[in-house]
């Protein structure tokens, strides 16, 4: 019988249906394996309450089958504040929360996605984790499901490269890298939502990985090396996708699409094929923004987001965000000269080595942008600032740096608030949510008790400000004895589960360079930083 797989994103449909990873897995499992894949998302709390009251278990969207009856239930885990939703979904499906309490009647629960960089906070709830990019391994995962019985399936699954199985694996799983990315087709027949999704457009992934080397950025480390798709393939895929989906906008997706070697040619050719089409390039880099914005300005309007990340040159050098004041000024000018009427600046506070002077620099940069908005935008242009709290993440150079903590973050938010010029709207990320995120991001074995205790106290949809209630987490912390937001970690326990292919020596060098304020070159066109990823068949795959 055809193995039945359910794929889930632990948030509501409107968020989860836009997730590109789930679209890739859904498409490949259904098109290229012997298994069938269906989807299930996390119902909003009022719906979940009704389902419990009526005794209706979680079902799949395609066939309305009970999720708990599938062979394998795969979760893409996006971030720490989604963890309570995983427990909510398991419970709604009638699947025991603890893997050890499941039997042959229950699905194998498999976690993947960027948050498995540190799987410990969810380890007891999952039968297995897949570390890295799964495209090459789907056949092996499905083959494991063709075994008879749960034990045989788990045993076979444990042997698949990239699989880490709590309590069964004897060492860390090596992060899998899909080196066939460049030659492979993007998803050409995606699920098209009939409800408005958070990213309601056609998506062509043009590049995977980023080598800019920002020392705080987990994605920049996790998805190495850089691999690019040829322009011909990108253009043909965009054209076909627009026809298949009926969308009127296409996104050329990557971690830093302006760095894609074929960006100008791809933009030009897509616009020739589809005049008037909106093309979005997520993640503009400031050092190349002026040129990119000039390319956009011809037929794009609206707002632009730029991410200087830190308020002074010293701190930007320390985090390896290679942006200087002149580049920032040029990018802001290009924004307003290009006719864009909104500019959003994105900063972080709580970065390692940060001082009050660095924080006040955020207000100075906002002020400088506001003056240019008035001068060039002639009153129509607006500047807003978003300030989030830095949370150290596993498998980054800053993985062992201290978390700034609640008091410091609140004081620095106040500094920014008081120093920012009038007329600039400033939004801050909820510090309490960052404290929970920081606790889980580097939490070791045992942190799962905190997640379960918080969920049992009603925690769910913690990424949504209207649902997040830190008191549930504080009560859970008191009940489990696990401190919230403690500054340091004793040891990088995530390395016992995950080998991200990044060398510890590279991280140590990066920390030293950070303290000395020294940049590290982008290895795409500069010296190799010896991060450790490129080895054997794994290496950069560029089109130019």
């Amino acid at each position: 019988m055809r193995p039945r797989i359910v794929l889930s994103y632990p948030d509501v449909y409107e968020i989860g249906v836009s997730n590109p990873a789930l679209q890739i897995l859904y498409s490949q499992i259904n098109d290229a394996t012997t298994a069938s894949a269906e989807r299930a998302y996390c119902p909003w709390p009022d719906m979940a309450d009704l389902m419990r009251a009526a005794g209706v278990p979680l079902w799949t969207l395609e066939s309305f089958a009970q999720v708990g009856e599938c062979d394998l239930w795969g979760f893409t885990l996006p971030h720490e504040l989604s963890y309570a939703n995983v427990l909510e979904m398991l419970d709604l499906a009638g699947v025991p929360l603890l893997a050890g309490e499941r039997d042959g009647e229950h699905p194998i629960v498999l976690g993947g996605g960027p948050a498995v960089a540190n799987p410990w906070p969810l380890a007891p709830f999952f039968d297995a984790f897949f570390i890295g990019e799964a495209e090459d391994r789907l056949g092996a995962l499905v083959a494991a499901l063709e075994q008879d019985g749960r034990e045989a399936r788990l045993r076979t699954l444990a042997a698949v490269p990239g699989v880490w199985m709590p309590g069964r694996s004897t060492g860390p799983a090596e992060r899998q890298v899909f080196m066939g990315f460049s030659a492979s087709q993007p998803v050409l027949r995606p699920v098209v939502p009939v409800l408005e999704a958070v990213h309601d457009r056609a998506v062509v992934e043009v590049m995977r990985g980023c080598t800019a080397g920002c020392r705080f950025c987990q994605a920049g480390m996790w998805y190495r090396p850089v691999r690019e798709r040829p322009v011909d393939l990108v253009v043909a895929a965009a054209d076909r996708l627009l026809g298949e989906t009926g969308c009127d906008e296409v996104s050329l997706l990557s971690l830093s699409s302006c760095d894609y070697s074929g960006v100008t040619e791809a933009l030009t050719r897509i616009r020739e094929l589809r005049p008037g089409l909106r093309v979005s390039l997520p993640s503009l880099r400031i050092d190349s923004a002026a040129e990119s914005l000039a390319r956009f300005a011809a037929d794009q309007r609206g707002s632009v987001t730029l991410a200087p990340e830190a308020g002074t040159q010293e701190l930007r050098d320390a985090i390896n965000k290679g942006v200087d004041e002149a580049q920032f000024d040029e990018a802001v000018r290009a924004t307003f000269e290009g006719g864009f009427t909104g500019l959003k600046l994105y900063f972080m506070i709580g970065l390692p080595g940060e001082t009050d002077e660095d924080v006040l620099g955020i207000a100075r940069m906002a002020g400088a942008a506001t003056r240019l908005a008035r001068e060039i935008g002639k009153g129509r242009a607006r500047v807003s600032v978003a300030v989030s709290s830095y949370v150290p993440k596993a498998h980054t150079p800053f993985e062992l740096e201290p978390f700034a903590g609640e008091q410091v973050l609140r004081r620095r938010q106040q500094l920014v608030r008081e120093a920012t010029p009038r007329g600039v709207r400033v939004a801050f990320h909820d510090v309490a949510a960052s404290v929970v995120e920081a606790t889980l991001a580097r939490g070791g074995p045992g942190t799962a008790r905190l997640v379960e205790a918080a969920w049992r106290r009603g925690a769910r949809f913690d990424g949504w400000s209207e649902h997040f209630d830190v008191r549930r987490w504080e009560e859970a912390a008191a009940a489990t004895g696990i401190g919230l937001g403690e500054p340091g970690v004793g040891r990088p326990s995530w390395r016992e589960a995950v080998d991200a292919r990044l060398s510890e020596g590279f991280f140590a060098d990066e920390v030293e360079r950070s303290r000395a304020g020294e940049p590290t070159e982008d290895c795409r066109d500069g010296a190799c930083g010896a991060c450790g990823v490129c080895a054997g068949e794994i290496g950069m795959d560029l089109i130019a």
């Binding site: 009939v194 409800l195 408005e196 989906t245 009926g246």
Partner: protein
């Protein structure tokens, strides 16, 4: 440019679409079928299409109407309808297209007939419907962010019939559309259910017919 009148049915999973989602489905169905829709002018051009009488969320309906403007030179053919049908999502089915010419036809609804099933005491529901038909005034309050509006349902909803079925009571009624607006099906059902002391939950709400001016 010319205006097309597209009639369609919305059933099955598509009945849970909101008004804006239904508009998006029409827009994307045209795009997938390769039939262009004219765009508005301005900084952010929008497709020129409208649904003159949106269906409530959860309601099914046949012969629903969309008004769509298409660029010059696009003609209605049998292939057009076939392409639209093939490009439609589950539950949404184009039925007919009529070219209404160069001027917006501005269709105005006069009345719409509905049917739904209510659970609970069939005798009480029949009595509540009789009471409604006999009463002269049935004022209800409509509360919205804009304020509270008093509405005499008798001016907007009539021809109410209760038909006991095996698994519930079917209630049929007509909503009249006037220059000052219309009642919502739920407002009438809330009143009937209150009088009958049953849950005001409409099962299988369906719009049976629309009368256009």
């Amino acid at each position: 440019m010319s205006w097309w009148l597209l009639t369609f049915s919305r059933r099955g999973p598509a009945r849970y679409l909101s008004h804006l989602d239904t508009q998006r489905v029409v827009q994307r169905t045209f795009a997938r079928a390769g039939v262009p829709i004219a765009l508005s002018q301005g900084m952010r051009p929008k497709p020129r299409l409208s649904l003159p009488l949106p269906l409530p969320v959860g309601a099914a309906g046949d012969h629903e109407l969309a008004v769509v403007e298409v660029p010059e030179g696009i003609e209605v053919t049998t292939a057009t309808l076939k392409a639209l049908r093939e490009a439609s999502p589950p539950g949404f089915a184009p039925e007919k297209i009529v070219d209404a010419g160069e001027r917006h036809p501005r269709p105005q609804p006069r009345a719409a007939e509905y049917a739904c099933v209510l659970d609970g005491d069939a005798g009480a529901l029949t009595a509540a419907v009789e009471r409604y038909n006999e009463t002269e005034v049935a004022v209800r309050e409509r509360v919205s962010p804009k304020g509270t509006r008093r509405l005499d349902l008798k001016e907007y909803a009539g021809d109410v019939v209760a038909i006991p079925l095996g698994g519930g009571t079917e209630v049929r009624f007509t909503i009249r559309h006037r220059s000052d607006g219309a009642a919502r099906p739920q407002e009438l059902i809330d009143l009937i259910a209150e009088w009958a002391q049953v849950e005001p939950v409409m099962r299988g709400l369906e719009r049976l017919r629309i009368t256009w001016e």
